[in-house]
């Protein structure tokens, strides 16, 4: 059986519970890399990932392990991103595995994030091996943690592996357990090829590279492959495995994990979740679970310095090469000038992109309030898709507006059912169903307006459930809702970049909250600045930013100009992130103020 000596697995862990260290140890113990070659924490390579403690792009590594039975096994460790924005990506990574290591800190025990990911892994029928890590900590309490694993997660922890990734304890046991307990992939090498794309990346020489798990059949160099959803064909130019550096191979056999280069010019032709088959012997059906990456959230990105427009475009182009989920097109704002309307998977995705643009491309950006895509039915029968509130036609031309709805599935320990319901109700949710998955876990399904959940739903969910909830959502369609445009006027002038589309019943509360928030964020200026929130001609909220205090240095310090200048330079630094709109200087954060307001 070709798959007999292959094991595909991932690691599930809460931040800081030692996932990266464990991965490093496994890489080291199997001699995949020598210690000298090891960068600390090989897997999280992007700075941003390290800082935020999250994995954005999945990474993979092949480990060769000679087990106690004397045979050599190929262990493929597939890393997974860890945030709801990327839950689809996580699900594809999990679908590429047969098992998972569940790493729990021996002192801290089971944490919320762990639970959410375990739920996902259970949905994919993965064999889960509990690993209790950091057992050499003075505060380690193995018995308590075992009991937690059994009580909260509902897994048998009697054969949990006791380990300390940092000290190298239990590493061999883990490797043996992977071989013994995780099932080998099913051998379907005689069937037409089906390989699951669980990630993709852009290489400037090789084009888009698909990271795949061969589920059925095999892939060889020079095969003509077909992307089953896109129905596009390519010729395989290179196959490889990750050691973790790319090692070229001639064939990816059934059950194995590797990457495929096929002169694919565009990552957009290489969708995560798509199935690769062979053009001359295609499979009948693609693998299940494919979802086209759709932008859920849109916002405007503008350079604070209009001279940076071209740089921003170049940077977006480059990021887009590696991130097909990022959409962008040019737009203009009266307040902000030239920029781009960008589409993202969710708020975190948006945040990450913005931060990468600022850090890696040295841009200073203004991000406008995020919006979803509305379908606006005009009285003349025309239907517009509007993802920018300032583009909404005047009310007299609108027959009705439809907003996108999602099916949101939340899995929580049963004690939190009430909290979820309250929160979802509050966000205009429509209850659909509830199901006990086992004695402890409940799955609740709501239909929710996407516009409500993109803001703070996930954060609220986390705090309402102490973090023990997992959330997945998918777009299910549009429903008519009484949506209105709310304008924000600063100093009497509407600022288009601050407009939002809001449910009629919530306009007043949200307007008040937003005006209050803006008052906090907009620094005092030369003159008093009235902040007004208006729906049509009706002012629903008003606040005032008082005029500045005196600010001028009188002393001349006997000709010490440099000292004076330093003070001015300091002052200037603070002003860099401001955008002058009319006569008002607006700080970057103000455009995102809507994200920081609380409805209550």
């Amino acid at each position: 059986m070709v798959t007999e000596h292959i094991r595909n697995f991932c690691i599930i862990a809460h931040i800081d519970h030692g996932k990266s260290t464990l991965a490093d140890r496994l890489i080291e113990a199997t001699g995949t890399l020598t210690k000298r070659e090891m960068e600390a924490q090989v897997l999280d390579s992007m700075d941003l990932e390290r800082e935020r403690g999250i994995t954005i792009k999945a990474q993979s590594v092949r480990l060769l392990h000679t087990a106690k039975d004397g045979k050599q096994y190929t262990l493929n460790l597939i890393d997974t991103p860890g945030h709801v924005d990327f839950s689809y990506e996580v699900s594809r990574s999990l679908a590429a595995c047969e098992g998972a290591l569940l790493v729990v800190d021996a002192a801290q025990g089971v944490e919320a994030q762990t639970l959410a990911n375990v739920y996902l892994a259970l949905e994919h029928d993965l064999e889960i091996i509990p690993v209790i890590n950091k057992i050499d900590l003075p505060s380690a309490d193995v018995d308590r943690v075992k009991k937690e694993i059994e009580d909260i997660i509902g897994l048998d922890a009697s054969d949990a592996i006791l380990a300390s990734a940092k000290s190298g304890i239990g590493i061999q046991d883990i490797l043996e357990a992977i071989v013994e307990r995780i099932p080998a992939p099913e051998d379907k090498s005689d069937q037409p090829t089906r390989a699951l794309i669980f990630d993709s990346r852009f290489d400037s020489y090789k084009g888009a590279i698909a990271y795949v798990r061969v589920k059925e059949g095999s892939l060889k160099k020079r095969d003509i492959i077909r992307m089953m959803h896109d129905q596009k064909d390519f010729e395989v130019t290179e196959l490889g495995v990750f050691t973790p550096n790319l090692l070229p191979v001639d064939e990816l056999t059934c059950g194995s994990v590797g990457c495929v280069a096929a002169s694919i010019k565009n990552v957009g032709d290489c969708h995560v979740g798509d199935t690769i088959t062979k053009a001359d012997d295609p499979a009948a059906e693609p693998l299940p679970g494919y979802r086209k990456a759709v932008s859920m959230v849109y916002c405007g990105l503008y350079p604070t310095d209009s001279k940076d427009y071209d740089n921003l475009r170049d940077a977006l182009e480059k990021l887009n090469l590696n991130d097909a989920a990022l959409e962008y097109e040019p737009e203009t704002s009266i307040a902000l000038g030239f920029g781009f309307r960008c589409g993202f998977l969710g708020l975190l995705h948006m945040d990450v992109i913005q931060e990468r643009l600022e850090r890696e491309y040295n841009l200073t950006l203004i991000t406008t309030a995020p919006s979803v895509n509305y379908k606006v039915h005009k009285t003349n029968g025309e239907i517009l898709e509007i993802d920018n509130p300032s583009k909404l036609p005047p009310p007299t031309e609108i027959d009705f507006i439809e907003e996108p709805y999602v099916k949101a599935t939340t899995i929580v320990p049963k004690d939190f059912v009430g909290a979820i319901m309250e929160l979802s109700q509050d966000k205009r949710g429509e209850y659909q169903s509830m199901e006990y998955l086992d004695e402890t876990r409940v799955s609740i399904v709501y239909h929710l307006p996407l516009g409500e959940i993109i803001y703070d739903y996930f954060d609220k969910l986390k705090s309402a459930t102490k973090g023990y909830a997992s959330l997945d959502y998918e777009l299910i369609g549009y429903q008519a809702s009484p949506m209105v445009k709310m304008d924000i006027l600063l100093n009497g002038e509407p600022v288009d970049a601050l407009s939002i589309i809001v449910h009629k019943d919530r306009a007043a509360t949200r307007g008040r909250a937003l005006a209050e928030k803006l008052k906090e964020l907009i620094p005092r200026q030369m003159f008093e600045i009235p902040i007004q929130a208006a729906v049509g001609n009706k002012i629903v909220a008003r606040e005032t930013v008082k005029a500045w205090r005196k600010d001028v240095l009188a002393k001349c310090y006997g000709g010490d100009i440099s000292r004076k200048r330093k003070l001015l330079e300091k002052q200037k630094e603070g002003k860099k992130r401001m955008k002058a709109v009319g006569s008002v200087e607006i700080p970057q954060e103000a455009f995102m103020a809507i994200l920081k307001v609380d409805d209550k």
């Binding site: 030369m526 600010d551 009188a554 440099s562 200048r565 001015l568 002052q571 200037k572 006569s583």
Partner: protein, 392 residues
């Protein structure tokens, strides 16, 4: 006086000379300048060192000694801590090594209560044209709190004496936003000072500088400073009072009722050169800004070794010069002149700062003049903001 004066920037090159006397009878509680009390024993050595520095500069930078000196300014500390003969020794050294035939102003800082009529007459015969008194306030309790060495009576006497001796220009400094000060006190201070007949006045908001006694007292909660609102009200009140008394604001903190500008201080704002001698003194020569060792004994020692006591120097890049030129010029009533800028940098201000200027005009902080732009009253109040727009 020359009230039709408008500043000339680049036409004829001349020089200002600043002489720093870092001694005080008593160190004021708000002061963080290079000034020290209790160093009487070093006065002679210091004067000698100062003279050596002048000589050494003239020989190190012989070009500087060819430029006619236009203004001389004795600052401190308290220059009048020195005897008339010590001052004379310094001036004679300066006159020996630098061309001082066309000096239009010889200015000196002084503290009330520390000099008598005879000394004043002596100053006059040394050629001093302008006296600037650190009056600060006429409230005796506050004067004590500030550790000033005088009371209100002495201040009045000092100014009366100076005027009677016949100096061309007598100025008084006032500090506002002092602990416990009220608007009424402010009005009284201005009225009292102006009634004495000064033709020039400088106003300074109290700045808490780290390391000063006053700073410590405020930190410890022993003193309360006026709130920002009160501070601003006092500032407005002073401007109103001065205006009502016919005093023209020619620089952010400087006022005169008859064109008695402080020409030396104007050099700072007009991007003109000045040499500086003495401990902790700051100079601007060619495109270099330098400053001296601030402590007296090391300063003297350096000169004994025949070394210039410079502790820091930097070359002002052309880019920075452009910025400095603009924000400094804007401090004065003449403002930023397109023509002067063009002469100095061979570029148009509009090309460089057009957007910023337009925005500041929109905000009501700048106004266009026949020559260029100047601050509005609001612009002066928010000067730091305006100036920072000219820094990139």
């Amino acid at each position: 006086m020359d009230s039709s004066f408008t500043p000339s920037f680049a036409t004829t090159r001349d020089m200002g000379v600043y002489l720093h006397i870092p001694f005080c009878r008593k160190k004021c509680s708000y002061c963080d300048f290079a000034s020290y009390e209790g160093l009487e024993a070093y006065y002679d050595d210091y004067v000698e060192a100062l003279c050596d520095e002048i000589k050494l500069w003239a020989s190190t930078y012989p070009e500087s000694a060819k430029i006619p000196v236009n203004t001389i300014y004795f600052g401190g500390g308290t220059p009048t801590q020195l005897s008339l003969s010590q001052l004379e020794q310094i001036l004679n050294t300066l006159y020996t090594y630098y061309p001082c035939d066309s000096v239009r102003e010889l200015s000196m800082e002084a503290n009330p209560g520390e000099i008598d009529i005879a000394y004043l007459k002596g100053l006059k015969s040394l050629g001093v044209t302008r006296l600037s008194y650190g009056v600060q306030t006429f409230d005796d309790d506050l004067l004590q709190l500030l550790r000033r060495g005088h009371n209100s009576h002495m201040a009045k006497q000092a100014i009366t004496d100076a005027l009677s001796v016949g100096f061309q220009s007598v100025s008084g400094d006032l500090i506002y936003a002092l602990p416990g000060q009220t608007l009424k006190d402010i009005k009284t201070n201005v009225a009292t000072l102006l009634n004495l007949g000064v033709s020039h006045i400088s106003i300074y908001g109290l700045q808490l500088e780290e390391g000063t006694n006053l700073h410590k007292q405020v930190e410890l909660g022993q003193l309360d400073l006026p709130s920002d609102d009160e501070n601003e009200a006092m500032y407005d009140c002073m401007l109103d009072e001065l205006k009502a008394h016919g005093f023209e604001r020619y620089e952010i903190s400087n006022f005169t009722n008859n064109g008695s500008y402080s020409y030396h201080n104007l050099r700072y704002w007009q991007y003109k050169e000045y040499l500086a001698f003495g401990a902790g003194a700051y100079s601007f020569y060619r495109d270099m800004r330098r400053n001296n060792e601030p402590y007296v004994v090391p300063y003297i020692n350096r000169l004994r070794q025949n070394l210039l006591p410079i502790v820091f120097e930097e070359t002002i890049s052309e880019n920075r010069a452009v910025e400095d030129f603009c924000f400094l010029a804007l401090r004065t009533k003449w403002g930023l002149s397109e023509k002067a800028f063009k002469e100095r940098f061979n570029e148009s201000v509009q090309d460089i700062f057009g957007d910023e200027i337009e925005h500041l005009i929109k905000q009501g902080l700048l106004v266009a003049t026949a020559e260029g732009w100047r601050l509005t009253r609001d612009g002066a109040k928010h000067g730091n903001y305006v100036f920072s727009q000219f820094i990139r």
